[in-house]
């Protein structure tokens, strides 16, 4: 059998490997990088592209993004200050992709990752909520992008199907889609419906997959139960495509909870291009800034053990987490008459 050693000429294969872009050209590229909609989100909505380009502009102009941060505020609460990152160095100065080896052990990555991550699902927020790392963070990402994560998966699989020659391939893909019934209960609990999943992808051992699924189910089961262990409660927001869950044990006070919720849900509200939703805060100047950006009022409420809906912030924190079963970010107008004193509290104006 003759060996077939194809040297790829036509597509300029051989030369490419020698082509290492200099740092200069990279940073040039970096500043020239635009938000791309390669995931096929353009059909999703013009809203999305408007949001996304807004993101990149602000990133490019300045990294002092604090002023533009969107807050979910409880009356009288204030988000914790954010300092510069642990990794040292000013975030603004770091290049996007250092091609020079930096052996100082410090990352030279910039916050500008959002430039290229416009189409990520809005989990930057969730990450930072989890990590609570003190650095300048821009809350980007849109729930619409998150939503499109569903379509993205389908779209890319269809692409994969189309790429292949055989007719069987696309049939295979669709039958794989039909075949893959993953964790039906889990799917029911989490919002995106009709999610197509590829069998055997991502490639992790089924044992690991099943174990993680069990663990998160266990976490759900302890919803609202006080005591040691996680205290996961569902957080819903009017108009958001799906629920989030937070572990109340991760927070020690109302301000912590509120700042992480605002990070979680602000992504969605940007996506709506400032039409309605941004959870806002009470009395601070920062919030007034934001007030200007957005135009609606939201309050954070919770359902207690007795099934009543109360305004968050009235009771001491410990008592609150003992009795809170779920959280809901409601429109201010709906929250009238909730808890005693709700009417008197200043509406969370945005």
């Amino acid at each position: 059998m003759t060996l077939l050693l194809a040297v790829e000429e036509g597509q300029g294969g051989g030369t490419r490997l020698a082509n290492s872009p200099s740092a200069d050209s990279v940073s040039h590229d970096c500043s020239g990088i635009k938000e791309r909609n390669y995931l096929g989100l353009s059909e999703c909505s013009s809203v999305d592209s408007c949001a996304v380009s807004g993101v990149s502009d602000e990133n490019k102009s300045s990294l002092n993004l604090k002023a533009t941060e969107l807050r979910l505020g409880l009356p009288g609460s204030q988000s914790p200050e954010r300092d510069l990152g642990v990794c040292s160095g000013k975030p603004e100065e770091r290049p996007l992709f250092p091609l020079l080896t930096s052996k100082d052990g410090l990352c030279s990555l910039s916050m500008q990752k959002n430039l290229v991550s416009g189409n990520k699902r809005g989990f930057t927020d969730a990450i930072n909520e989890l990590l609570d790392v003190k650095n300048v963070v821009y809350t980007n990402g849109s729930w619409i992008a998150g939503n499109a994560g569903v379509d993205m998966k389908l779209a890319s699989r269809e692409r994969a199907a189309v790429k292949e020659a055989g007719p069987k391939s696309s049939a295979e893909c669709s039958s794989a889609v039909n075949r893959s019934v993953r964790n039906p209960t889990k799917a029911a609990n989490n919002a995106p419906a009709a999610k197509a999943q590829v069998i055997g992808w991502p490639p992790i051992r089924s044992f690991r997959k099943n174990t993680l699924a069990t663990t998160s189910k266990d976490n759900e089961e302890v919803d609202g139960k006080p005591g040691p262990g996680s205290l996961f409660v569902k957080v819903s927001m009017d108009g958001a495509p799906y629920l989030r869950k937070v572990d109340l044990r991760n927070y020690a006070s109302y301000p912590e909870l509120s700042s992480s919720l605002e990070k979680m849900f602000s992504g969605f509200t940007i996506g709506q291009c400032g039409s309605e939703s941004i959870p806002g805060k009470g009395k601070l100047n920062e919030s007034k800034l934001r007030d200007l950006l957005l135009g609606s009022e939201y309050v954070l409420t919770y359902e207690d053990k007795d099934g009543d809906w109360m305004l968050v912030g009235d009771v001491p924190w410990e008592m609150f987490i003992e009795s809170c079963k779920r959280l809901k970010i409601m429109k201010g107008s709906e929250a009238i008459g909730l808890a005693p004193g709700a009417a008197e509290k200043p509406k969370i104006k945005i």
Partner: protein
Amino acid sequence: MNYFPDEVIEHVFHFVNSNKDRNSISLVCKLWYRIERFSRSRVLVGNCYAITPERVIARFPCLKSLFLKGKPHFADFNLVPQDWGGYVYPWIKCLEKNRTNLEELRLKRMIVTDDSLELVAKSFSNFKSLVLVSCEGFTTDGLAAIAANCRFLRELDLQENEIEDHRGQWLNCFSESCTSLVALNFACLKGDINLAALERLVARSPNLKSLRLNRSVPVETLHRILVQAPQLVDIGVGSFVCDPESETFLKLTALLQKRHSIRSLSGFFEMTLYCAPAIYPLFSNLISLNLSYAPAFPGKELIKILQLCGKLQKLWVLDCIGDKGLEIVAYSCKELQELRVFPSDPDGDGNATFVTEEGLVAISSGCPKLNSLLYFCAQMTNAALITVARNCPNFIRFRLCILDPTKPDAATLQPLDEGFGAIVQACKGLRRLSISGHLTDQVFQYIGMHAKNLEMLSVAFAGGSDKGMLHVLNGCEKLNKLEIRDCPYGDGALLNNVRKYETMRSLWMSSCNISMGGCRMLAKSMPRLNVEVINENGDLNRDGDDDQLVDKLFVYRTLAGPRTDAPDFVWTL
């Protein structure tokens, strides 16, 4: 060397432990072949169907330790039907029949029944070590048999197996005279165990160095065990849930402050945030940390503890660590050699955080000793991979999995060919590679050109044409295992270099463009290969047309001929 007496040669061979080297030795001359085969005590059979147990035992009559691998690797991801095969029973039966003095049995991706375990337990009086990885088919009754009968048992290591838990008292079955345990790992068991029996077992095992508990073992028991066993070096915590005000917690905190010998930590299937400080003192001594089963371990805590892990060499985490967390690792863990980042939300149901190319670049620049990587990420770029290649030319294992399998470079939208090309060019010692993302034939050209030491390649959802597969088959001289799924390779690629398959252990192709005709042709031209067509859906007609598309194909070299235990839907052509 031939002027030395046999005993001298044998003594020299005694120092050769690597099976590869021993295989080479045995090819030198007949004398060496003979001496080597009588002196080999540790045998690895990488594919249990490549050879019959009888032949193995005939060649290596003094074998004491056997490592068998069964199902193809993609079986881990549910791509291989349940009853495909990989049964260990015939091997054990044969070993028993030949009265082999089996001391160690290590199985990976095999079907192990309780009968097999019982046979092991009763047939080999010197049996010392049982390691089961990703196996299934047995219950805790089988474990009870091992516990009860293996009086000199040193190691019982169960890693990620599917074990039916009968909640029996298998731990009780260890006899009172069994005091030889060195390593016990039952972390993958799902059910309750008898805690008192566990404590008694630990108390009478002075050599116990490694103990990995399952989630049913509470903190109180952990504390008592730690008190009993100060010699423990490797601990898998079951459940770390307790009241931070409780006496147990205070005692545990005090105890852990003095345990400087603990080098390896894992588990934490459940975790109370406020109890984390108790384990802080451990981290500065840790060499190995596996938190990949601890989704409840909050990101904040992860960051705190990772800063303490100055000696860490091996880290397995979930992607909720985020790029920020990886930056911390890069800053703090300069000795890091192996990193695995698993997806915390594999089905993407919307609650996840993830890592990106940034975390990987940070790690590569901070951890120069990194040589083994498994990285599940949301996106990747060529520039990042090029940087990583430059920073870490020592990779032996590089497995990158982008959660969206056809995603291109996140910045430029180009295929990731250049990035992976840089990896294979820089990492001359690369032995294992998994690639993902949007890829064309180009990346395979790079692989064929540069990855001269590559032994295992995993490809999924790549694009291009038959040329891609050919670059690999023709270029990678040491290729041993090739597994491909959902790629457009057809019969042309399959049949171009058929002799290659005899130099490899196995080839897996699923959801590609292979036809029945191609498979038949392959089987006909290479009689020493088993060409298995797996007709999982029943779509195929065995005697039907050549142009039927074959969805799953598994080809492997063998001296044993077509196997006799294949189920109906597996056809050896």
